[in-house]
Amino acid sequence: MKTVVGSLRDHRNIVAKLDPRTKIALTITISTILISSGSSQSILRVCLTLFSLALLLSIHKISLFIKCAVTFLVLIGIQYWVIPYAEGMIKFILLAFVGIFMNMFPGFIVGYYTLFSTKVSEFIAAMEKMKLPRNIIIPISVIFRFFPTIAEEYRNINYAMKMRGINFSNHFFKMIEYRMIPLIISVVQIGNDLSFTAMTRGIDSPFKRTNVCVVKFKLLDILLIIIMVILWIIYFKEKLFND
């Protein structure tokens, strides 16, 4: 398995390898447009939702794709077959529940795709290209670094709680304490050690950092950006027209 000259292996597919700036733009676009406009049955909405699900496939998260798709179908089901028969407050609650979910969920999916398919170094490279200050770049890269750690520690705590027989039925309010406190202590201690490690690897070097990752716009990025610009124009036009 010889590496390609001048670059190291990277086996993500073309969609997963979009420029991180494009991915962030996608997340903002899809979530903002979905959350605040359009009617539930619009083609735009359906397309955006399907697109977000397709992104899950591009990162090979098949079981997640299926779970999300089923969730959507269930919600659409409620929307068409339950809500019309409801009245007053219940109808309000159901509409809110389904509506908010359908609006926010695709945004979350695209966000998940962005986090999952992008290396932290790529984010850093993108942020450096966007000329963000170091005071923002370092904390944000640490946040990305810590999400999987928090998830891992949380899972371990859950296992330990199961072993002790702690669950909601016998320790309701304390559950928050039992979950959060060890989580915070563990994560903070890991963070302390991580600072040490980073220092021994020269993180406080005053030199200008280079980056092994290349971040630049390719054809697919430009295509998507053009589509997004069109979407935004439509979005604003709708808002202005309806005034």
């Binding site: 590496t3 001048g6 086996h11 290396k119 002790r164 991580l194 040490f196 021994t200 690897r201 092994v212």
Partner: protein, 484 residues
């Protein structure tokens, strides 16, 4: 060349000095080993060499540390990071990045080195040690051993003149220890100065030049390698070092007739990936023994353990124990696992409360008795997470005992422990066994296995490769696996 001139240091949070009046000189190109019991000050020495003390970890220091004739306090941390490479003990906290390639490039990126140069260096090192398969991987999906290999590779790519390794072999399986040894030999061949802090010395004894023994913060002795090797076994044992321990079987196992069976132990974490992390149809083992579970990282050992504890929800297999058929829910009630990381197993604000947080009623007398036997009675009202690592581990074991459950599993209970503490833990586990419990221990620690185990399950690639009793033929099979 590294020189310590009468150095004394105590951490900001404590009044006891971590090291006292330490003076030593390490020559260029030497491979020195620091050993001694936990708390003897070895890690402090390491941090003084790579500059973490006193620049990042604060405290009171007197005396001087010199690197190539320069006082370390006059060198900036980022400059030190180019001169001294560090590999730490905890794979969880060694990585600033999430993917391996970025981590390998990290130090050189910080130095502002050109991208193509960095890539060339990475390729060269990964090729040299045949670890290209570790490129471009998610660090969270690597095993502990693979993580350490990446940490060492990072140092090699940076190419500093001094390398400090703090207990790099804890948590490592055989494959990883081999790679670790290769890399250390490589460093030595290139004339680098290597400072190695270790409890387990067998894998590196042929390469070391001298050994420093520390006790209670002071440098007790300095042995050139010849003298060290001729120390007798009792002396080594007193020093807490795992080296040259005779691999004696402590007792011949005698099994009763009862058998514990495991059926349909298969599990997939991802239903659509079709890859089974665990694929074992039937196992039958003698009941009531202390069973060691061995295998390389990723062989399915911890999946097996989690299935046995009933922790995995969609596990469909079952266990036959005491003529009872136990499926996932019953297994959860009958089993208890003591995990490797103690920090995520302690929940309350006092030791007393901790021992009462179980799904059985525990009386105050029982709590007191247990704390007494663990030597923790005087800390009854202290916070569990304020204890030392070893004390926390004893608490975790205490909860296992008080839970009253039948099947108890330990995940790497002795990784990173010196000989003395390993034996203490072994005795605790044995005491639990004497009460009639079924014990499983996932471990890489051969001495522990020889100390108390009577049966071995060997996993590989999700399957059970071998199972044997730990009698004389069994020892041969064990040695075969552990042969570095």
């Amino acid at each position: 060349m590294i020189k310590f001139d009468n150095v004394t240091f105590n951490y900001a949070s404590s009044e006891e000095p971590a090291i006292q009046n330490v003076s030593l000189q390490i020559k260029q190109g030497e491979l020195v080993v620091f050993c001694g019991k936990s708390g003897s000050g070895k890690s402090t020495v390491a941090k003084l060499i790579n500059g973490l003390i006193p620049k990042v970890q604060h405290g009171d220091i007197s005396g001087h540390v010199y690197l190539y004739g320069r006082n370390i306090s006059e060198i900036e941390m980022y400059q030190l990071s180019q001169m001294v490479g560090s590999v730490f003990q905890n794979p969880k906290t060694q990585f600033y990045n999430v993917d391996t390639t970025s981590e390998l490039a990290f130090n050189l990126e910080n130095q502002g080195i050109d991208k193509t140069v960095i890539i060339e260096k990475i390729k060269k090192v990964m090729n040299q040690f045949k670890i290209e398969h570790l490129l471009d991987r998610n660090i969270f999906e690597l095993s502990g051993g693979e993580k350490q290999i990446i940490a060492c590779a990072t140092v090699l790519i940076t190419n500093p003149d001094v390398v400090v390794l703090d207990e790099p072999s804890s948590n490592l399986d055989m494959y990883s220890i081999k790679k670790l040894k290769e890399m250390i030999c490589y460093l030595k061949e290139r004339g680098k100065t290597v400072v190695l802090i270790e409890h387990r010395l067998d894998y590196i004894m042929d390469e070391a030049d001298s050994v420093y023994y520390m006790e209670d913060g002071s440098l007790h002795a300095h042995y050139p390698i010849g003298s060290f090797k001729s120390l007798d076994r009792d002396e080594l044992e007193r020093m807490g070092i795992r080296y040259g321990q005779e691999e004696r079987l402590q007792h011949e196992p005698q099994f009763g007739d009862h058998v514990m069976e495991m059926h349909n132990f298969t599990y997939m974490y991802d239903k659509f990936n079709k890859e089974k992390q665990l694929d074992v149809n039937e196992i039958a083992i003698p009941k009531g023994e202390v069973v060691a579970i061995i295998g390389d990282n990723g062989s399915g050992k911890s999946t097996f353990a989690k299935c046995l504890c009933g922790l995995l929800k969609d596990f469909k297999g079952h266990v036959t124990y005491d003529e009872k058929r136990l499926k996932q829910k019953q297994l959860l009630k009958q089993s208890y696992m003591v995990f490797q990381d103690v920090n995520t197993q302690l929940f309350t604000e006092s030791l007393e409360q901790e021992l009462q947080l179980l799904n059985v009623q525990v009386t105050e007398t029982q709590v007191d008795d247990m704390l007494e036997s663990m030597n923790l009675l005087d800390k009854k009202h202290e916070h569990p997470l304020s204890l030392s690592g070893g004390e926390k581990q004893r608490m975790a074991i205490a909860t296992a005992i008080l839970s009253g459950k039948e099947i108890i599993i330990f995940d790497e209970p002795t990784s990173g422990l010196d000989l003395y503490h390993m034996k203490k833990v072994a005795k605790m586990i044995n005491d639990i066994h004497d009460k009639g419990k079924q014990i499983f221990i996932i471990t890489h620690d051969k001495s522990l296995i020889l100390e108390i185990c009577t049966y071995v399950l060997h996993f590989g690639d999700g399957r059970l490769i071998n199972q044997f009793a730990l009698n004389h033929q069994g020892i041969d099979q064990l040695n075969h696996y552990f042969d570095v």
